[in-house]
């Protein structure tokens, strides 16, 4: 068993509003290991980003109620005072975001911004910090790193900015890197470059990566472990090959079915009817039941537990395992043209 880096236990995030409580994340638990890429997938409002912002201590405690614990090398990120969290954030756990342009200060040179990240957690002279910045820009594949470090963000392309953000995240060799939709704003050829870079960085720096995305294709290509979220809860969790070979949750089936494939033209895309629920007026029982074509009596009243499946992964659904296997095998597999 590989070393566990981050242990999230029962994480809940609630935003109280005048209309009622917005339950963004409910009772989320997972473990991230060294050298592992954990893919968190879900639609907008599924809580995938909010859960990570909570780990990073980036949610305003006056506006959000956060429960549970998140252990990073023995320390609970969720109960640390802001000062101590500041020492950890960017040093032991770092995050990159969807829009790299919004994350870089437009009026400072890229190299200087990375150098600033160096001095934030370490005593270093300017020249040492700058040297480290250039080194990292080189490591993330910026050509002529020494010259480009003197550029301003607007002189970088989208892909290069994301590379610069990754460089900045790596400054202090964090053990966990959270990438929140890192390629969503990028073109597909550049997306391929960045995904390869994240994979390489993970190997070379020997870290754990949490990759948040709405794109199951990205997950299938990069993640070893997958967490499927819906309306703030984990619906399915397990090793990627297991989860894609024999998905157990009707929501996962829906996601897979509605994904347009490049392999062939489908007669009809199997859309999930309706739209994700309001987090204020959450449906009773299983939050997915109003959209689930397989829902039956208990689904409307009882929240299903996460259950261990024979394949080794966890699933939150009332359907008996036997019938789920049959459904997936018979209907879904045939429709998707996925063998076995």
């Amino acid at each position: 068993m590989r070393e566990a880096l981050l242990d999230v236990r029962g994480l809940s995030v609630v935003f109280p509003t005048l209309d009622g409580d917005v339950r963004a994340v409910s009772d989320l638990s997972y473990t991230l290991h060294r050298g592992e890429t954990l893919g968190i997938v879900g639609e907008s409002g599924s809580g995938k980003s909010v859960s990570s912002l909570a780990l990073m201590g980036l949610l305003n405690r006056d506006q959000a109620r956060i429960d549970g614990e998140a252990l990073l090398s023995g320390r609970d990120l969720l109960s640390l005072p802001p000062g101590e969290m500041r020492d950890i954030r960017g040093k032991d756990i770092a995050m990159i975001f969807q829009d790299p342009f919004a994350c870089l200060h437009p009026m400072h040179r890229v190299g200087d911004q990375i150098a600033e990240a160096v001095t934030a957690h370490k005593k270093a002279s300017n020249s040492e910090a700058n040297k480290r910045a250039v080194e990292l820009l080189q490591a993330v594949g910026i050509p002529n790193a020494k010259d480009r470090a003197r550029d301003y963000p607007h002189q970088f392309s989208g892909g290069m900015r994301q590379r610069a953000m990754i460089a900045m995240a790596l400054v202090h060799n964090p053990s966990v890197l959270i990438a929140d939709e890192p390629t969503t704003a990028l073109d597909v050829t550049v997306q391929a470059q960045i995904l390869e870079l994240i994979e390489r960085v993970k190997r070379e720096f020997d870290i754990g990566v949490i990759l948040i995305t709405h794109d199951l294709g990205v997950i299938a290509e990069t993640a070893e472990t997958v967490l499927v979220m819906y309306a703030g809860r984990e619906m399915e969790f397990g090793p990627a090959d297991e989860l894609f070979r024999a998905p157990q949750n009707p929501y996962t089936w829906g996601l897979l079915g509605s994904m347009p494939t490049i392999e062939h033209r489908l007669e009809k895309l199997v859309a999930i009817e309706g739209s994700p629920p309001s987090l204020v007026h959450m449906p009773s029982g299983c939050a997915f039941h109003p959209r689930c074509p397989y829902s039956f009596a208990p689904c409307t009243t009882e929240l299903p537990e996460l259950r261990q499946m024979t394949g080794g992964h966890l699933d939150r659904c009332h359907l008996p395992e036997q019938s789920k296997r049959q459904i997936w095998a018979a209907i879904v597999a045939e429709r998707l043209g996925v063998a076995g």
């Binding site: 392309s157 997306q191 199951l216 859309a271």
Partner: protein, 351 residues
């Protein structure tokens, strides 16, 4: 789907340049070469996809088709009639025939108008029916796009992204257009909702015999909806063929790179061979010499690709499949290995 050979839109050697000012003291003006010598025909009943990365000119091309932009050079014809120099006023009756669906369903609906006003707006603008009949038609249109009639009195903020996109579609359908340009209509939507909208667009096409021009950067979506696909790069069409041929027998290395870059689910869990090209799309202000793709191309040859611009040539034995490449791919996907080594070479070259 009834695809005829009759053209609805023809672009002939259409070019669009945008001037860019380069500060107070600069002399002369440089231009963004947004669309460069594009010749393209949209047939009645088809879905022509235009695919490419940001800045490739796909949206500009579509806006030129609708004459929302004036071409710098070239001819645009709608149903055989030259519309490239028509004034706005002369264009007005034609606007009924061509409509557009936009990417962002949040930005493209007026937040202060009800659904009824939004969907009914085209009737008011073109004065085709009276207000009482317009109200009835709006209700019918809401049915058609899968919204309920009670929605008519609500405001856009009360709807989800997918529902808003349905409102946009209803508005586009209002005047029974012949052509609808869909500019990234599903990119802002969640996958589960994306599929609903794609299915809706497909069935509406059958029902109303519509012609679509479908712009997207997402090849998987393209494969589901397009009959023919034009691949654009830096303002040029680099390949054009039936959808099936684009995916099964791509000729242009750029098309191959695009297809291979799409992340996908592999049923057996094996790692796929991905061609990763280095660098970014060059600036359209100062496009590369020769073939515009040559600095990133895994197959480019010095002394030829960097100096001679390739023209769109038909594929032997498949004249409707055209590609602009000096060294087009002959096999697919068997060329993947070759392309990967070539790409690695190109990367080390650019870095």
């Amino acid at each position: 789907m009834r695809v005829s050979n009759e053209a609805i839109i023809e672009l002939e050697h259409v070019t669009k340049h945008f001037p860019v000012s380069q500060g107070v003291f600069s002399r002369g003006r440089s231009r963004v070469h947004a669309v460069e010598d594009v010749t393209l025909t949209v047939h009645k009943g088809e879905t022509l996809g235009i695919v490419g990365e940001s800045g490739c000119g796909k949206s500009t091309t579509a806006r030129l088709m609708l004459r929302l932009l004036d071409p710098t050079a070239g001819t645009i014809r709608f149903e055989g009639r030259d519309i490239s120099k028509l004034s706005n006023r002369q264009l007005r009756p034609l606007r009924r025939e061509m409509q557009m669906i936009f990417q962002d369903p949040y930005a493209s609906l007026n937040p202060r108008k009800t659904v009824e006003q939004i969907v009914g707006q085209p009737f008011a603008v073109h004065k085709v029916v009276g207000s009482r009949e317009a109200k009835l038609r709006v209700k019918e249109l809401l049915d058609v796009v899968g919204l309920s009639r009670e929605h008519a009195s609500r405001y856009p903020h009360e709807f989800s992204g997918g529902q808003r996109q349905r409102i946009g579609i209803a508005r586009a359908l209002a005047l029974n257009p012949k052509l609808i340009v869909c500019d990234e209509p599903v990119s802002a939507l969640d996958v589960s909702v994306q599929a609903q909208i794609l299915n809706l667009l497909r069935s509406l096409q059958e029902e109303f015999n519509l012609t679509y021009v479908f712009i997207s950067h997402d090849l998987s979506v393209m494969r589901q909806i397009c009959t023919r696909i034009a691949v654009m790069y830096l303002g040029r069409v680099v390949e054009l063929a039936d959808s099936e041929r684009i995916f099964e027998h791509p000729r242009h290395p750029y098309t191959a790179v695009l297809i291979s870059a799409v992340p996908r689910l592999s049923a057996d869990g094996r790692k796929r061979q991905r061609i990763v090209v280095g660098g970014d799309v060059p600036s359209p202000i100062d496009p590369p010499s020769g073939c515009v793709f040559h600095p990133r191309c895994p197959r480019s040859r010095a002394g030829h690709c960097d100096s001679v611009e390739p023209h769109l040539e038909p594929t032997p034995g498949e004249s409707s499949h055209i590609a602009a490449c000096h060294y087009p791919l002959e096999h697919w996907p068997t060329d993947v290995t070759e392309l990967r080594t070539g790409a690695a070479r190109a990367v080390s070259h650019t870095e």
